[in-house]
Structure formats: structure tokens, C-alpha cells
């Protein structure tokens, strides 16, 4: 009767729903399978440790790189970096001329002070103008002021970005009418990452078949309580930890009483102890080696509390290696201390890197690729 037919149509609706649900299950399974072969890498490290530069290098090295529109989009960023740099130097000189004992060498000439005020004002604005010939002349004049040059030598206490010198040396080019940033400019450009970014790549050349596929995540944009989200990354194949070894004499941007290397040490220790990474491989980048190399000749490693028992040997090339090995050993010790005894066999590799050095980054990722393959074949 009618109830029978109704129940029939009901069950038909039910069948459709069941079919749809089963279809969703199948789709999820397919998608999961398709993702299985991708190695997931998580990029971690303190602020300014070079994470974003590594990210950009990968895009340049193993992907199509930046097209002209992308390159152009960096113009305003680079110009903003110039204004930031000049403001930090100008404000820095003003402060040093008040507090330092030999303060007179930090006093800027009155004319240049006027320029300094004008340029510092630009940096605070949301709608800052792009660099033009006229502004570049101002920037140059201020940059060449002896007081600013003296201040520049004190860059490590001023939170001066690493890109400062590079952009100052290229000012004319940056302000040219049809300026398109070069790859190198883009690598130097400093933008604060927002949220989380990801990139998929394969470190072997495009012509080689069967290259392993990696997906790298950069969470540099999250400046908050890591403990609240780090567990989302449980299951990544490896953590790449960036440590800027050149920062042993620098203080944190957020807390000027705290040494950056100590912050990096604490962060590395914390990451190693996370339960979600118990089975995760660790790749440590001792980054900014180029700056470290130069700095070690002038600033003793022992200024950092962690390295206070460091004994220098002879100056020169030998000293650089000696200091580097010392820092490396400290990180190794920390790794074994902070890993549970049954976890010390997870893969742990240390690489000496300069994120700006394209060849070195390329070589490093090929080594990582080999090591990941080996460890996978071993298991």
C-alpha cells in the first residue's frame, strides 16, 4: 500500500545518502594515498635566522623561480627596507651621541640631521613614496656621513637588518625608472612572513626521473605561543632548524636584554623535547656562516654566555674553523642532552649554510635528499 511505497522511497533516499558517504570515504582515501610519498619538512628557528631566505632559495633553485610580476612585487618591500635601515642608523646615531663616552663621533652634521628627520618620517608612513633620484641622493648623503658610518659599525647592537649594506651599495640601481628587482635583491629583501607558507619541490634536476618530492612549511609568521600549535605538525618527516650562528653578540628585537643565541638555544632545546617530534628527524642549519666568518675576527665568541668557555687559538682562517667547530659541538651536545635516550637514533644532521649562497643551499638540499633516502631504505 501507500506506507509500503513511502518506506520504499525513504530507503531509496537512504541509499543515496549512504552512497554519497561511501564516495566521500573513497575520495579521502585516494587523496591520502596521493600525498603519502611526499616528504614533509617543517622549517623552524628564531626570528631573523634566515628561514624566509631558505624558502626563497628553494623557489629559485628547484622551481620556476620568480616571474617578472613577482620580482616587481618586491620593489616596494626593498624600498621600505632602505627607509628602515636609514631610520635605524639615524636614530641609533642620535642615541649613541648621547650615551657613549666618545660621543662626538656619532654627531651628525646639521644639514644631514635635517635629511635624517625627513627620511625617518617616511619610514613611519603607510603610504611611503618609492625611491627616486632625489630621495636616493638624500639617503646616500646620510649614509656617507661619518657619524652614520661609525654607527653602522655598531650595527649588531642596533637591530640593523643584514641587508643594510647590500642595499646601500646598490641605491642607484634601486631607484632607476624601470627597476625590476634581481634574484639577489629578492633574496636580501626582508618581509615578515604572515601565517604559514608552503612550497613543494624536488631537489633533483627536472630531467632526472623519480626524484623525491618534498613539501616545506615555514611558520615564521606565527609570533606567539608555539606550544599552542606545534602539535599540528606531528608526523612531519623532518624538522629543519635554522640557527643564525652570527648572532652570538646580538640581542633580541623584542627584548634587548636577551642574547639571540641564548634564545636560539632555548628554542632548539624546547623543539627537541616536544612529544610530537619524538620520531622526527632533525636537520640543523648553522646559518649565516658568511657573517660569522667576518665577525669572529673582531668579536670574541665568548661574549655569548653559552660559549663563555671558548678559547681562541690563532687569528685567521684557522680561528674561523675552530670557532665554528666549537659552536657545532655545543649544538650537538644540546641535541643529545635534550633527546630521550631511546630517541638519539633519530636522524640528526648538521649543515653549515649561508642562506644567500645559492650553490651551497643547492648542495645542502641534495645532501639532505640523499640522507632522507638512505634512512628510508634503511628502515
Amino acid at each position: 500500500g501507500s506506507s509500503c511505497s513511502r518506506s520504499h522511497s525513504l530507503s531509496e533516499a537512504e541509499t543515496t545518502k549512504n552512497a554519497k558517504s561511501a564516495d566521500i570515504d573513497r575520495r579521502i582515501l585516494q587523496e591520502t594515498k596521493a600525498e603519502q610519498h611526499i616528504h614533509k619538512l617543517l622549517l623552524l628557528g628564531a626570528g631573523e635566522s634566515g628561514k624566509s631566505t631558505i624558502f626563497k632559495q628553494i623557489k629559485l633553485l628547484f622551481q620556476t623561480g620568480f616571474d617578472e610580476a613577482e620580482l616587481r612585487s618586491y620593489t616596494s618591500v626593498i624600498h621600505a627596507n632602505v627607509y628602515q635601515t636609514i631610520k635605524i642608523l639615524y636614530e641609533g646615531a642620535k642615541e649613541l651621541s648621547q650615551v657613549e663616552s666618545d660621543s662626538s663621533k656619532y654627531v651628525i652634521s646639521p644639514d644631514n640631521q635635517e635629511i635624517g628627520e625627513k627620511l625617518s618620517d617616511i619610514d613611519g608612513r603607510l603610504d611611503y613614496p618609492l625611491l627616486n633620484k632625489e630621495l636616493v641622493l638624500d639617503v646616500k648623503r646620510l649614509w656617507q656621513d661619518p657619524a652614520i658610518q661609525e654607527t653602522y659599525l655598531r650595527g649588531s647592537i642596533l637591530q640593523l637588518p643584514d641587508c643594510a649594506q647590500y642595499f646601500m651599495e646598490n641605491l642607484d640601481r634601486l631607484a632607476e625608472a624601470g627597476y625590476v628587482p634581481t634574484k639577489e635583491d629578492v633574496l636580501y629583501a626582508r618581509v615578515r612572513t604572515n601565517g604559514v607558507v608552503q612550497i613543494q619541490f624536488s631537489p633533483v634536476g627536472e630531467n632526472k626521473r623519480g626524484g623525491e618530492v618534498y613539501r616545506l612549511y615555514d611558520v615564521g609568521g606565527q609570533r606567539n605561543e608555539r606550544r599552542k600549535w606545534i602539535h599540528l605538525f606531528e608526523g612531519v618527516n623532518a624538522v629543519i632548524f635554522c640557527a643564525a650562528i652570527s648572532e652570538y653578540d646580538q640581542m633580541l628585537f623584542e627584548d634587548e636584554t636577551k642574547n639571540r643565541m641564548m634564545e636560539t638555544k632555548e628554542l632548539f632545546d624546547w623543539v627537541l623535547k616536544q612529544r610530537c617530534f619524538e620520531k622526527t628527524s632533525f636537520i640543523l642549519f648553522l646559518n649565516k656562516f658568511d657573517i660569522f666568518e667576518k665577525k669572529i675576527q673582531k668579536v670574541p665568541l665568548s661574549v655569548c654566555e653559552w660559549f663563555k668557555d671558548y678559547q681562541p687559538i690563532a687569528p685567521g682562517k684557522q680561528e674561523v674553523e675552530h670557532a665554528y667547530e666549537f659552536v657545532k659541538k655545543k649544538f650537538e651536545e644540546l641535541y643529545f642532552q635534550s633527546s630521550k635516550p631511546d630517541r638519539v637514533d633519530r636522524v640528526f644532521k648538521i649543515y653549515r649554510t649561508t642562506a644567500l649562497d645559492q650553490k651551497l643551499v643547492k648542495k645542502t638540499f641534495k645532501l639532505i635528499d640523499e640522507s632522507m633516502r638512505r634512512s628510508r631504505e634503511g628502515t
Binding site: N18, S21, I24, G195, N224
Partner: protein, 380 residues
Amino acid sequence: MASVAELKEKHAAATASVNSLRERLRQRRQMLLDTDVERYSRTQGRTPVSFNPTDLVCCRTLQGHSGKVYSLDWTPEKNWIVSASQDGRLIVWNALTSQKTHAIKLHCPWVMTCAFAPNGQSVACGGLDSACSIFNLNSQADRDGNIPVSRILTGHKGYVSSCQYVPDQETRLITSSGDQTCVLWDVTTGQRISIFGGEFPSGHTADVLSLSINSSISNMFVSGSCDATVRLWDIRIASRAVRTYHGHEGDINSVKFFPDGQRFGTGSDDGTCRLFDVRTGHQLQVYSREPDRNDNELPTVTSIAFSISGRLLFAGYSNGDCYVWDTLLAEVVLNLGNLQNSHEGRISCLGLSSDGSALCTGSWDKNLKIWAFSGHRKIV
């Protein structure tokens, strides 16, 4: 111009005076509040709720996520549930049949929260991309079966930890974020209507983790934070928090209004749940676990919910326990973690169906479970 040293000195002095005032306030409160809910209820002769193991049983396990479940929400009318998982998906379930009606693969897989719109036609989610994405469930799916995102609300500078629609308003949504603020959005235009905290001095001083909108006066909402405080906000006056509630000694992971809207409950990394009075600011009750005999780390409270009457407080813990507290007598009447078919990992989220007849729990064991009241307790 004052030197940095002078400013630091002034700051230290001001901090010290704030702390001493806060301490005086705490003492004063303690004096005024000479009892708590538990002691008062006992003097009134109230007896604890008694619960048989069969009064609340696991009737369904929702399987399908391939990663940890982080968040869930019920529709106000239909018995549908949306869940968000570390596998980078939202799944919409029919809680009565366990059928999946939608699976949405997210562009940013690091999702931490999800919510149903009041009409049940769209869902919102947010996470590490620092944005809140809206999906219309009626949108045409593409070849791969994916629903396109219908709007992305951007503006937060930190992860989106929680989102909730303003009751009965499809176009209004509030988010909380790791950038220390909450934001009221116009979903239609994607514009921020108001920002709560941040620049303003009375805002949270650390990541905001959760929020709850008062269902009787939908202009008011509370937010819980890593600064161990809850703040009460009036949607119409974003410039300052109406009130700040102190008491917890750890991150406040979860905050929920009590059904009458006069009180709210909290769950924290300090291992306790607490009940606060909205108007007086008093902490009315602490719900703390017995210390662990094996001296294990104290489990943290991840998520809480009240029963319809408010008599029961459901609390999920990091060790997989799920306590049913008697709100009045501060006793645990049942631990779902000890029942048959219980989860095998941290309980990360939980919520009651709108009619109060079922509880849904989500866990890091990748599953969701539906617990139904049976016997004489259809609804509590």
C-alpha cells in the same frame, strides 16, 4: 625626553603597584565570598547527581579523518556536526546515521577550529593561515569533489584559535586569535567591524584561545587566553574590555557561558575547570582533579561544555579522560574515558547537541564519538 632606563624604572614601579592592587582585590574578594558553590549546595542539602554507567553511552564512532581531530560544532537545528582535523579537512556528519554529507579539503591544512552558521548552510574554519574561511555547503563541488571557499576573512596577525557565529545572525562571526585579539566580522563583505584588544590597553596580553557568546544577550562575549585571564566584551564597545577575570594559573583553553548567561565556565592548562560570576567577577567554584597517584604530569583541560540545565559540566582532558562534573557539588559523576569504546587519545573538543540529548567528543585518536543519554535521563 625620558631615557630608556627611566622609562623601564617607571614601568617596573607601575607593574609592582598593579600587582599589589590585584592582590588586595583578591583578598577582598576572598573575604566577601565566604563560600563556594559546593559548600553552599551542601548546606542547602543538595545531593550529588547519581549516574549509572549506562546513563550515558557511546552510541556511535565517527570514523573518516586521517589525522587528529581538533574541533567540532553542532548545527542548531539539524543533527549535523562539522569537524576539523589535522588531516586538513572539514567533514560534515549526520550524527544520527554516521553518514558523511560533505568533506572539504582545505587550502591551508593547519586548521584549529570550525563552526556551523546558525542556518546550517555554511561552515567557517580557521587555523595557522591566520584567516577564517567560509564554505557554503550548497556550493557546486568541483571535479575532485571539493567545495570552493566562498569567503576568506583576513586581518588577524596570528593563528585563528576559535570562531563562532553570533546566534541568529548569518552575517556576523567572532574569531579569537594568537595575535591577542578577537575580531567581529561582517561575513558578507569580509570586513572587520570591530577589533577587541590589541592596541587597547585592556585587551589580552597573550594569545586568545577561545570565546563564547552569551546566548541570551548576544552583544556580550567572553574570551580566554594564554595570559590566564578571561575578558568580557560588549560587541558595541570594542575599545575596552568590560571586565577581566583572574584566578587561573595557566593558559585558558576553553570558555563557555553557563546556560543562564549569568556565569561562565573555563578549562585550563592548570588542570582545573572554574566557574565565574559574570557581574561580580567572583570565582564561584574550582573543579580540580585528584592528584595523580603515579605522579604523572597533571592532565590539562582542553575543552568544556555545560548540559542544558547547567547541572553537568563536561570536561575533556589531555590524557583522554572526559569527566562529567556535578556543577553544584563539584564531584565527578562519570569519566567517559573509563567507559567501553572510549577514545584512545587526548580529548581535544566536545559539544552538546542543541536539544541537549547527545554529546559529541573529538580526539587526537582521529575519531569523533556520539554519547547519548539513555534511560530516564534523556536530557540533563
